[in-house]
């Protein structure tokens, strides 16, 4: 009996079922960064680097080789010294969506994979509509899917399809060490949002820390199914782990459910505390809040705002 399990590998609709009104609302939002971003190209987002925008930042003395066009001639007239106008650079940021597509994400009603994919699609839409660049990375035991970086509104459809493809292919167990391996190879800065259920023994602290250490601004979204947040089974069961096949024989009683709730709260608190200490955004979302009949648009957007991911 695979109660609550989605059909493994079921295809996810690349359109994710968003209507136009919802998309119009998303277009009013933008990804938020807790610090100025350094991007590969000029864009609409403030950068810690000085560049060619109209926003004045500072003065400094002229050095040979500087652009003559930025010399402040009024200051030279008064002080007989050459000063240069410095302006803030505006660069586009890069949003990397790390999508956990392990076997456990296929469980839940609605499935966590679908919920995670819809959330990723929302975030990608907001980013692409604001001319940010979006990259989708799928991982389970290892980073096994890395879509090319896309930018602009025209990349929305292909990005959504990529997200749908990643979340439709579920395999293996979640291993956060895969993120560490990834960061050794890619140290590009930007925003990173990790979507996973975090129900794993693997070293998720190490994975998140590796992302942050590579210069990325990390946010975490924990997606859990309603049956994981509040299990409703009773009686004697041999619970089989979908990822590693481990069996746990339990007699589900009110007492055990109470202890399960305590363990879940403890695990979530550990995750939230870690993110808070590391300056990462964190939000826990039920898959029922994103998909299906219980889809609550305002609720999701409010959660993302409160987590400081969009604004």
């Amino acid at each position: 009996v695979n109660a609550g399990a989605a059909d493994d590998g079921a295809l996810i609709d690349p359109s994710f079922g968003f209507d136009d009104a919802f998309l119009r609302r998303l277009e009013q939002l933008a990804l938020r960064s807790r610090r100025p971003v350094v991007g590969p190209r000029a864009g609409p987002r403030r950068s810690p680097q000085h560049g060619s925008s109209v926003e004045f930042a500072d003065f400094r003395q002229y050095l040979p080789g500087d652009d003559f066009r930025r010399i402040d001639w009024n200051a030279y007239a008064r002080l007989d010294r050459l000063f240069l106008h410095l302006f803030s650079a505006e660069q586009m940021t890069s949003l990397t969506l790390f999508l956990d597509h392990s076997r456990s994400m296929g469980f839940g009603e609605p499935p966590k994979a679908l919920a995670s994919g819809r959330l990723a699609a929302i975030l990608a839409y907001i980013a692409l509509h604001r001319y940010d660049r979006v990259k989708v990375v799928g991982w389970a035991r290892a980073v096994d899917c890395e879509l090319p970086v896309r930018g602009g509104k025209g990349a929305i459809a292909s990005t959504w399809k990529g997200i749908a493809d990643v979340m439709s292919a579920r395999d293996g167990n979640t291993d956060f060490d895969a993120l560490r391996d990834y960061c050794r190879r890619r140290r590009d800065p930007g925003l990173v949002i990790v979507l996973s259920d975090f129900l794993t023994d693997s070293n998720w602290q190490g994975g998140l820390h590796a992302l942050q250490a590579s210069g990325k601004e990390v946010s975490v979204v924990q997606v859990l199914a309603p049956d994981e947040l509040q299990p409703e089974m009773r009686g004697d069961w041999a619970l089989v782990d979908a990822e590693n096949g481990a069996r746990v024989e339990v007699t589900v009683s009110p007492g055990l459910l109470r202890r399960y709730a305590e363990e879940l709260a403890s695990h979530t608190a550990a995750l939230r505390d870690y993110c808070g200490q590391q300056g990462m955004g964190f939000v826990q979302i039920s898959s029922a809040a994103i998909c299906g009949d219980r889809w609550i648009e305002d609720g999701v957007l409010t959660l993302l705002r409160e987590a400081g991911m969009v604004g």
């Binding site: 619970l239 990822e243 069996r247 009683s253 399960y260």
Partner: protein, 543 residues
């Protein structure tokens, strides 16, 4: 007791219960996204094996407790309780000396009479009541009557004496009165310190022993002796404190009705104190001693000795020399002692009016006088035959009344006893196994007494009972009735029987009886099982 012991076999159900905890439950698989949180909540990982180690489990303990309670309930434990019979009642009222104690108002005896009246009032229709007075010789006061007036009259006719109770005889008398043993209730109303706690034999009826009183405050005179010797009169008084506290009474001595002396005494709890007077006038004829103390037992405070009798009884002692015997005889002022060595004794010569005591020798024939044989050698005289001496250690049984009244022979330790063949006319008074130690009766119309061992080879001469027995036997040989020997005692040697034991406490003990009724206690264990099941259910829900 257990009414259904076979039910304990049901305890074997504990084995499958334990097996259920050793065998692993075959559970249905359920695939979940992750067992990560379940493992932490469950607190354990279980191997995929058919057996598992027996772990401490509250449920296992509870289920074993339930099984135990059920097994005990099915085994039907029961407690034996005396059946209350509403039938004939036989009341045995103790008339002994100890019933005079007033630690129970108005006295133990008065309280016993009140209880007897209450029992009479509780008689049901068609039932009868018998009343037995328990003295040294129990007597039936009323037999099988249901007339309330007659019963009350019989009860009121009982009187307390100065003797000890003879419970075995009273019990035997009650047994013979029981019409329907299954519906007869025998109630013994006795004093707390009588020592009567159980029937002397199997009781086929409901026996209830009510012990009245408790720790009596009693200091009393237990012995008083007076004698003339050396032109003066001497007297010795012994006082015993039966209570549990030190007492300081005064002893008043009256000589011929006039107060002659007052002695203050200090008597520790459980101890004796002796008082002696050695300079009383030789002309004294009547001595009275009075103990001035107020306690629960007023009857043992006075004693008197009559010194008026001057007739002396000749006693011829034929002996090779026995200091103890000679002393015991010479101390008796009523004895005119003549000591003869065996060689001087002439069988053909008569000793009219005298008691002849043969100590260690056997005459050829009985003299024409009362004869007292002490430690006879092997041989025969008349129908009495004496064999070899045999080893003996102590006295196994002795008479409690008559010639041995007020005598305790339990402390006597013997070494050798002469085997004897005695005629039926000689009644054994004390025996050790099959051997007769002391006997008295008539042989050929002449009173004869026998002590078949050498007292010198025992500790008896050192005991208080030795001169008393010698005196009593001489009294008997002189013609006194065995039952009235004691009547002669106060003349020179007065004894007042006091409480014999120190067991007190105001208690009412209802005991004994071989027939009991089982009261089923299975419901207690059934209720316990139900409570444990309820607790387990609640615990399971809470868990």
């Amino acid at each position: 007791m257990i009414l259904s012991p076979l039910s304990f076999l049901l305890a074997l159900f504990a084995i499958p219960i334990i097996l259920l905890y050793i065998l692993r439950l075959r559970r249905q698989d359920r695939v979940v996204s992750s067992t990560f949180l379940w493992r932490r909540a469950n607190g354990e990982l279980q191997a995929n094996a058919p057996w598992q180690r027996l772990r401490p489990s509250a449920f296992l303990v509870l289920q074993l407790l339930i099984l135990s309670a059920l097994v005990l309930a099915l085994a039907r434990p029961a407690s034996m309780q005396a059946r209350v019979v509403s039938g004939d009642v036989i009341v045995i009222v103790d008339e002994s000396f100890a019933m005079q104690a007033r630690d129970v108002p108005p006295s133990r005896f008065g309280a016993a009479l009140e209880q007897a009246h209450v029992l009479a009032g509780e008689l049901g229709p068609g039932t009868v009541m018998s009343v037995i007075g328990m003295g040294p010789q129990p007597h039936l006061v009323l037999a099988e009557s249901n007339a309330r007036q007659a019963i009350d009259s019989a009860i009121d006719g009982l009187s307390v004496g100065t003797s000890l109770p003879n419970f075995p005889a009273a019990f035997s008398l009650a047994s013979s009165l029981a019409r329907d043993v299954g519906a007869t209730r025998v109630v013994v109303l006795t004093s707390h310190d009588s020592g009567i706690t159980r029937p002397p034999g199997p009781a086929q009826f409901l026996l209830e022993i009510v012990r009245l009183g408790g720790w009596a405050r009693d200091v009393g005179i237990v012995a008083f002796t007076a004698s003339r010797a050396g032109g003066k009169t001497e007297a010795v008084l012994r006082v015993h404190n039966f209570g549990d506290r030190l007492v300081r009474p005064d002893v008043d001595l009256f000589v011929d009705g006039l107060l002659a002396d007052v002695r203050p005494l200090t008597v520790a709890a459980g101890k004796d104190t002796n008082v002696s007077w050695s300079t009383l006038p030789v002309s004294a004829r009547r001595l009275q001693a009075h103990l001035t103390v107020k306690d629960d037992m007023p009857a043992d405070k006075s004693v008197e000795a009559d010194m008026g009798r001057s007739v002396r009884r000749p006693v011829v002692l034929v002996t090779s020399g026995d200091y103890f015997l000679q002393t015991a005889l010479s101390l008796d002022p009523a004895v005119e002692l003549h000591v003869l060595p065996p060689a001087s004794y002439l069988s053909g010569r008569g000793y009219p009016g005298a008691v002849v005591v043969f100590d260690g020798i056997l005459p050829d024939a009985f003299p024409n006088s009362p004869t007292f044989l002490i430690d006879p050698p092997t041989g025969h005289v008349g129908p009495l035959r004496f064999g070899a001496a045999r080893f003996a250690s102590g006295i196994t049984s002795a008479a409690t009344g008559g010639l041995l009244r007020y005598v305790d022979l339990s402390d006597v330790r013997l070494t050798r006893v002469r085997a004897s063949l005695l005629p039926d006319s000689l009644s054994p008074l004390a025996v050790t196994g099959p051997l007769t130690l002391i006997a008295a009766g008539e042989v050929g119309g002449t009173r004869t007494a026998l002590i078949s061992f050498d007292p010198r080879r025992s500790n008896w001469p050192l005991l208080f009972s030795y001169p008393i027995v010698i005196h009593n036997l001489l009294e008997f040989l002189a013609g006194a009735s065995p039952d009235h020997v004691s009547a002669a005692i106060p003349r020179r040697l007065s004894f007042v029987a006091g409480p014999q034991q120190q067991q007190f406490g105001h208690t009412r003990t209802s005991t004994v009886r071989t027939e009991h009724q089982p009261v089923d206690l299975a419901w207690i264990f059934g209720l316990a099982a139900l409570l444990i099941v309820t607790f387990e259910w609640w615990y399971a829900l809470r868990r």
